[in-house]
């Protein structure tokens, strides 16, 4: 794959065209465009190919993803998958009927394009949360929420053991205990103490759901991580780099968490009612989410996001990546903590206002 703005040399172009043609069962593939997407990983590139024949005959749009492991950050709040692992997860999700960018081919030979890579279909649509919640596109959001509920339930039908996903760690205890341990380990590496986060983590510890299942969870499932077309139809769930074995309700709680509603009023992802989302989930899984367990994972979602915001601010402060965007993440923590304190105030007699 070429670096940004670097022209593709004729030999690489030829090798890439040959690989793609063979993979797609065509006699010839012409590379029309290879350019940075500007979205997702910095190495992701738009790949437009014109196939002479075969099952994909004609012009096709793909995204080419480098399989080179991302730079490891010592100070991550949440572990991420390598691109190769992400590709395996994507294949498993696609096979289970989840709407994802279709995984097409994997090329492990660095001689073809300079680095190993995998290719997915390119989804042309909208992800920007400010646009997704536009009633002109999604109406009352009911159909979209139903589809999202159905799709995440399909993902949750994947359970361990699974030979294709044997690189995913199975939580040592139950998923909530694992989440608490992970957050505490991060906070202990952090330079400042965080009493509100400790309050929230202790609450999670004391209120953990009794029975927990282990399924394949997206773990970053939220508005902003799915693509819709111009009429509000779901065309793909994206953002798979945190996927792993976990509690299915973690995804439901994350989707509904206040911090992922982008200031909108709809409790399900800022786009509508929980009931439509839950009903979609129940149609496929056969079970409606338990509101109490979802509420638990909403608190956990705020704790997770607060730790991720602290890690992002650290990249500005100490990580040699000064940026206003990273810096402002540090100031997001206060409102995440406000939600944690509000959501865990039950049983307290002092007046916490109408927060």
């Amino acid at each position: 794959m070429t670096e940004r703005n670097e022209a593709l040399d004729a030999r690489t172009r030829h090798r890439l065209e040959q690989f793609i043609a063979a993979a797609a069962g065509a006699t010839h593939a012409a590379l029309v465009e290879l350019a940075p997407t500007g979205l997702g990983a910095p190495t992701d590139a738009i790949l437009r190919v014109d196939f002479r024949d075969g099952p994909l005959a004609g012009a096709q749009n793909f995204v080419m993803h480098s399989l080179t492991p991302r730079r490891r950050d010592e100070n991550v709040a949440v572990e991420t998958l390598t691109p190769a692992q992400e590709y395996a997860v994507l294949r498993a999700a696609f096979a289970a009927g989840v709407t994802v960018p279709e995984p097409m081919w994997e090329c492990l030979d660095p001689a073809v394009a300079g680095v190993p890579f995998f290719v997915t279909r390119r989804l042309a649509g909208i992800t920007d949360p400010a646009l997704v919640a536009d009633p002109a596109k999604i109406g009352d959001g009911r159909a979209l929420l139903g589809r999202l509920g159905e799709d995440i339930a399909r993902l949750h039908s994947i359970r361990p053991p699974n030979a294709d996903l044997d690189f995913l760690k199975i939580p040592r205890s139950n998923p909530s205990a694992q989440a608490i341990a992970d957050r505490r380990a991060f906070i202990d590496r952090h330079s400042e103490s965080h009493p509100v986060l400790e309050w929230g983590l202790r609450w999670l510890e004391l209120n953990a759901p009794r029975n927990s299942e282990i399924v394949l969870a997206h773990r970053d499932f939220r508005t902003g991580h799915y693509v819709i077309d111009g009429s509000g139809g779901l065309i793909g769930i994206v953002g798979w780099r945190y996927a792993g074995w976990g509690d299915p309700m973690e995804d439901i709680g994350n989707f509904c968490a206040r911090c992922w509603r982008f200031g909108a009023t709809g409790e399900a992802g800022g786009i509508g009612e929980r009931s439509d989302f839950y009903a979609g989930y129940a149609r496929i899984s056969g079970r409606a989410p338990d509101p109490g367990v979802v509420a638990y994972w909403e608190v956990a979602a705020h704790l997770r996001r607060a730790c991720m915001a602290l890690a992002e601010a650290d990249r500005h402060l100490f990580g040699g990546e000064p940026s206003l965007e990273h810096a402002l993440a540090g100031r997001l923590v206060a409102e995440l903590e406000l939600e944690i304190l509000t959501a865990t105030a039950e049983g307290l007699s002092h007046d916490s206002g109408n927060l």
Binding site: R184, E192, S193, V196, E337, A345, G347, L348
Partner: protein
Amino acid sequence: MRDRPDAADLLDAACETFAEHLLPLIPDTHRAPAQRIAMAMAIAAREVRAGDEPLRRELAALAELYGESRPAADTREALLRELRRMNRRLAADLRAGLFDPSDPRRDRVHALLLSGTVQRVRETNPRELKARGQA
């Protein structure tokens, strides 16, 4: 003695000029960083205006919770040092379960954390407090 307007006034004026006269001219492609600049200046202005008073209130509440006499915090460095020390203690106690539901001080701890957090949100995103009916 510095001349006026002071730092908070200057930042307010800069924010207003930026939001009214420049932001509307910025193309969509550069809107996100421009909005971040406006947000950072607004947070800084509110923080400068609030000064150290919220930090002193937080320290006094922590000292009261732990029955300590008012800690010496004459300088800003001393104030921050004392706040770090006491927040570390509170964080460790919370993790150890000292303020679990059976503890009579639980209400007070929650109120203390909430009051400090509301103050921080007042500085970072007052609109969030308004949305929650706590402007």
